[in-house]
């Protein structure tokens, strides 16, 4: 016999009510690919598990009136992959989410869970940061929106108040000439945790970069929005040889400068700092090529 309770409410209001009223530790269950591992390892012992997958708003992808997308927090990676329009508009976001784990994990793992697990190395997060995703959260005091980069507070910690649940991500409409990409450095080809992850989204107008956002993962206690790298890219020219080398070098240096990594078994501080710049160049190049085709 255990003293854990499981509820699977049909509405967000019920979920928020149950989550906020929980006396002991409560956990939201989306795909469960982190939560069940943590429960089994004894890292978390929830008194209440709130399964959000019976709530329609949490499990669907919708196009917004303005031409963007609203992705429910509990949408699986496999569902993202199969959404042709989303994949065309935001290939970087989808490929980042799809890098997480195996086919089996993709059947369950969600962008909402990846964000709320609070790992600095979560693959979908830098791509969401680059995309300028807005996160909608709902709690006992109602709904609020915040930029995705404002959600993580540190490893395993979030800037959410008691009882708040991540409901969805909203990706903005894409101006013509936009592209995004995500790359991560791992020592093998698949199924590993990022040593560094880099997301870039940019817009080209007649061969000039007019807007850019850069997200960096696994190089600081939280995923970073690197504004100086974006500034270095904005105004640069995209020609036959790709993006302007000087602008790329400046953006790469800005990424390395933003790093505040740790030394661990996956990579040293020096390695992560250097790779952050290398990945920026590669990722921005892919994003620009995609933008040039759109």
């Amino acid at each position: 016999m255990t003293d854990v309770q499981y509820v699977a409410p049909r509405t967000l209001d019920e979920a928020v009510g149950a989550f906020a009223a929980a006396t002991g530790a409560a956990r939201i269950l989306a795909g469960g690919t982190d939560l069940l591992v943590q429960m089994r390892a004894g890292v978390v012992r929830p008194g209440l598990i709130v399964d959000i997958k019976k709530i329609a708003e949490m499990t669907t992808i919708e196009e917004t009136a303005g031409g963007g997308f609203r992705i429910g927090a509990a949408v699986s990676g496999a569902t993202l992959r199969e959404h042709a329009k989303l994949k065309k508009a935001w290939p970087g976001v989808v490929e980042a989410a799809n890098l997480i784990g195996s086919t089996q994990i993709q059947g369950r793992a969600t962008a909402g869970g990846n964000l709320c697990n609070g790992s600095p190395a979560g693959d979908s997060v830098p791509a969401m940061v680059a995309a300028g995703a807005i996160v909608t959260v709902q709690g006992p005091k109602g709904r609020r929106d915040l930029a995705v980069e404002k959600v993580p507070a540190g490893p395993g910690r979030l800037n959410l108040t008691a009882g708040e649940i991540v409901v969805c991500f909203t990706l903005p409409a894409r101006p013509k000439g936009s592209g995004d990409a995500y790359l991560r450095m791992i020592p093998r080809t698949e199924m590993d945790i990022a040593v560094v992850g880099c997301g870039v989204s940019l817009t080209l107008d007649k061969g000039t970069c007019t807007a850019a956002r850069v997200g960096l993962g696994a190089v600081a206690p939280t995923v970073l929005l690197v504004e100086d790298a974006a500034k270095a890219l904005i105004g640069s020219k995209f020609g036959a040889g790709g993006l302007d080398d000087a602008a790329l070098a400046k953006a790469a240096a800005a990424c390395s400068a933003a790093c505040r990594p740790i030394d661990d078994k996956r990579g040293t501080i020096a390695y992560r700092t250097r790779i952050a710049g290398v990945l920026l160049k590669r990722t921005a190049t892919i994003a620009a090529e995609r933008a040039g085709r759109n």
Binding site: M1, T2, Y6, L29, G101, T103
Partner: protein, 160 residues
């Protein structure tokens, strides 16, 4: 705490069971439901030996709560053969000895079947990536990959 009553469908048959809130789907399959084909390798979603389908999508049953099965369609390795008639993948794995100890085989078969349902003509690259979540410590994978590729070719031929 009272147990949770779950009504679900397993391999096409309605099924009801009682479970604890924190009990995994794998535990219920192997325990109360007596379906021991799904294996527990790692218990953390890394090895794929516990692969089942939920509404047609493969998942690790060790990373799913049994309570989540309410109203869902569960598929396990026990539902793969049609009575005594093996699925072409099962037949090919036997013929080509694409297994040694066999612990990973149910999961590999479930995952491979799901691939061929979605992509009847996969490249070797497609097969290797799709099966990357199924660890086999015996075969070195080549026999498994070859058996899946050849089954795919046979099934394409049969459907022409």
């Amino acid at each position: 705490m009272s147990k949770i009553h779950v009504s679900t469908t397993v391999n096409g048959e309605p099924q009801e069971f009682l479970c604890e809130a924190d009990q995994s789907m794998l535990d219920v399959l192997r325990g109360p439901l007596g379906l021991t084909g799904s294996k527990e390798g790692c218990g953390s979603g890394d090895c794929g030996a516990c692969t089942i389908t939920v509404n047609g999508r493969i998942v690790c049953s060790c990373l799913m709560l049994a309570a989540e099965a309410e109203g869902q369609k569960i598929g396990t390795i026990e539902g793969m053969a049609d009575g005594e008639k093996l699925h072409p993948l099962q037949q090919k794995f036997l013929e080509q000895a694409a297994l040694q100890c066999g612990i990973c085989t149910p999961g590999v078969l479930m995952a491979a079947k799901s691939l061929l349902e979605r992509n009847p003509d996969p490249t070797e690259h497609d097969v290797r990536f799709w099966l990357a979540g199924n660890l086999c410590r015996c075969t070195g994978y080549d026999k498994i990959i070859r058996a899946v590729m050849e089954t795919a070719a046979d099934m394409r031929g049969a459907s022409r």
